[in-house]
């Protein structure tokens, strides 16, 4: 179970006949629970296209995606063999700029729209909304407000609450923290990490923020020019791979670690993953 890509290609059709290959020969396996994955790579490398295959918003041009047991390929979609609703409920996808998808009169109505659509009663959905509004760092007073008078960051939280209210097994977020101030960003990342850790869900985050990857990810996927070029440990990625070639950047903490090592002319025994770890290591440096 989980999500499995088998030799997936995807081509966007354009004015010119040859189209545009956004995914090339993707093979990938994601567990249905317990993963915390970041997906990175330069703009246009295929990240958003890849995640849109994970809840069957897009169908592979060739190859197939197995989503929690449902096989998505050209044939199964054409023959309408697949019920898409359960897939969309189990694999929640939050788009880039989700705040532009808010449309209801109140925050409450926006949050319960999704669950009601998937057969949850209004009463139950409202109960969930009251819990979830706190999880995303707002409070119940927001539920009666109009989503249109909220700030960008607040709107973003409301739209994420709408997806969480559907209680997905797998949560995918496409650049969820871009445009948030540092405090808002850290709060929201903590929300995602808690959802992963406390509820044992699989969370997948697309980001350009290398610091997020380095601090939180247990597994990192790198896309480059429609190919999946790396699937593994974040520390190995940043310390052993030619990341410049993939247009990635070194996380601030690692950059600072290198600069201090350079100055001390001596490498640390282990590379710190958090600010607190580096702080402790600096305390042990002899004057």
């Amino acid at each position: 179970m989980g999500i499995k890509f088998k030799r997936v290609d995807f081509k966007y059709q354009g004015f010119d006949e040859k189209g545009y290959l956004a995914l090339s020969n993707i093979n990938l396996s994601i567990k249905p629970t317990g993963e915390f994955i970041t997906l990175i790579g330069e703009t246009g490398s295929g990240k958003s296209t890849l995640v849109q295959h994970m809840n069957a918003l897009l169908t592979p041009s060739s190859g197939e995606v197995d989503i929690l047991g449902a096989i998505i390929n050209q044939e199964s979609i054409k023959k309408k063999k697949i019920r898409l609703n359960p897939i969309r409920q189990k694999v929640g996808l939050v788009f880039q700029f989700p705040e532009y998808q808010l449309f209801e009169e109140t925050v409450l109505k926006d949050i319960i729209f999704g669950p009601k659509n998937y057969g949850v009663s209004e009463q139950e959905a409202t109960k969930r909304a009251k819990e979830i509004i706190n999880i995303v760092g707002l409070n119940e007073s927001y539920l009666s407000r109009s989503p249109f008078n909220l700030s960008g960051g607040e709107k973003k939280r409301v739209s994420i609450a709408g997806i969480l209210a559907m209680d997905p097994d797998i949560l995918i977020l496409d650049e969820p923290t871009s445009g948030l101030d540092p405090v808002g960003r850290d709060e929201l990342l903590k929300v995602f990490f808690d959802i992963h850790e406390k509820l044992n869900k699989t969370v997948i985050i697309i980001t350009h923020d290398m610091n997020t990857v380095y601090h939180y990810a247990k597994r990192v996927l790198v896309m480059r020019d429609s190919y999946l070029v790396y699937d593994g440990d974040p520390v190995d990625l940043f310390t052993k791979k030619n990341i410049e070639h993939w247009n990635l950047d070194t996380p601030d903490l690692l950059k600072l670690t290198y600069e201090i090592e350079d100055h001390l002319k001596k490498p640390f025994k282990i590379r710190p993953r958090t600010q607190a770890q580096l702080l402790e290591m600096l305390k042990e440096v002899e004057a």
């Binding site: 966007y12 354009g14 004015f15 010119d16 545009y20 790579g41 330069e42 703009t43 246009g44 490398s45 990240k47 958003s48 880039q96 700029f97 532009y100 008078n149 909220l150 700030s151 960008g152 960051g153 607040e154 650049e175 871009s178 445009g179 948030l180 101030d181 540092p182 405090v183 808002g184 960003r185 350009h208 290398m210 247009n247 990635l248 950047d249 601030d252 903490l253 600072l256 600069e259 201090i260 100055h263 600010q275 580096l278 702080l279 600096l282 305390k283 440096v285 002899e286 004057a287």
Partner: protein, 268 residues
């Protein structure tokens, strides 16, 4: 000469609480100013007021000495280019080429000059190979690079980057930062709205907003180490400084490390 003068400006949406209050700010020609602030602090509203997308409730805004009002707004928009955070809201052309051409057509740039400018700025943002592509074949970050090319091609005196780099990958962000530096050397007035101190440090001056008011204005290097002001507005100091401050809380005495952290924070 002053590029932008904002005098006693307040703004609110309908009957709600004020979004901006008592804003006074003068930006000189050729100056690079960063506006920092938490989400909802009024940063983007301020940029929309400057280009006349929103109308101030009270107060006055002057651009190149001309008061912004319904009669002057069209002329003023030809002096001020703005790149927004979300490229989907600013892509107007059927192809990348059309999109970059759009602003130039409004400026009635002659055709030959237009072709030249489109190619020059597409190259600058590394999108030359995409000129005949339609928007749906582009990623969010690529659309953003096209939006930036479109604004640069208009060659306006003043350019506002409203969180324009938040969608970009590290390479794209560095490219835009280099472009900003070049614009400064050409004498353009630049306003950047951002959440990152790294970007803010490149500018001459920083304005920190909090809940619709100016909390502090200062030289960028002074604001950089002003932990209290930054924290009040949900911002964070650069990593080496955060570590330096934390070490100082613990009576840390290794001066060598402390000096190093201080130097590193300035060299960003």
């Amino acid at each position: 000469m002053n590029s932008i003068e904002i005098k006693d400006v307040s703004f609110q949406y309908q009957s709600n609480t004020p979004v901006l209050q008592d804003i006074n700010l003068t930006i000189k020609k050729g100056e690079w100013v960063t506006i920092l602030g938490h989400n909802g602090s009024g940063k983007s509203t301020l940029s929309k007021l400057i280009i006349g997308l929103l109308k101030a409730k009270t107060g006055q805004i002057l651009v190149n000495g001309i008061e912004l009002n319904p009669e002057t707004v069209q002329d003023i928009r030809q002096k001020v280019g703005i790149v927004f955070q979300n490229p989907d809201n600013q892509f107007v052309g059927v192809t990348v080429r059309d999109d970059i051409a759009f602003g130039l057509e409004n400026l009635q740039v002659p055709r030959e000059d237009m072709v030249e400018r489109i190619e020059k700025y597409a190259k600058k943002v590394n999108m030359s190979d995409f000129l005949n592509k339609e928007p749906h074949a582009l990623s969010g970050g690529q659309k953003q690079r096209v939006a930036i090319a479109g604004i640069l091609a208009m060659n306006t005196d003043i350019i506002i980057f409203d969180e324009a780099t938040s969608m970009l990958d590290p390479k794209g962000r560095n490219m835009v930062l280099d472009t900003m530096k070049q614009l400064r050397s050409e004498g353009k007035t630049i306003i950047t709205i951002t959440h990152t101190m790294k970007e803010a440090l490149l500018s001459d001056r920083i304005v920190v907003l909090k809940q619709g008011r100016i909390l502090k204005v200062g030289n960028s290097k002074d604001i950089l180490k002003d932990k209290e002001t930054l924290e009040k507005s949900n911002l964070e100091m650069l990593l080496p400084l955060r570590i330096l401050y934390d070490l100082e809380q613990t009576n840390y005495s290794n001066e060598r490390i402390k000096n190093l952290l201080w130097e590193l924070s300035l060299s960003v």
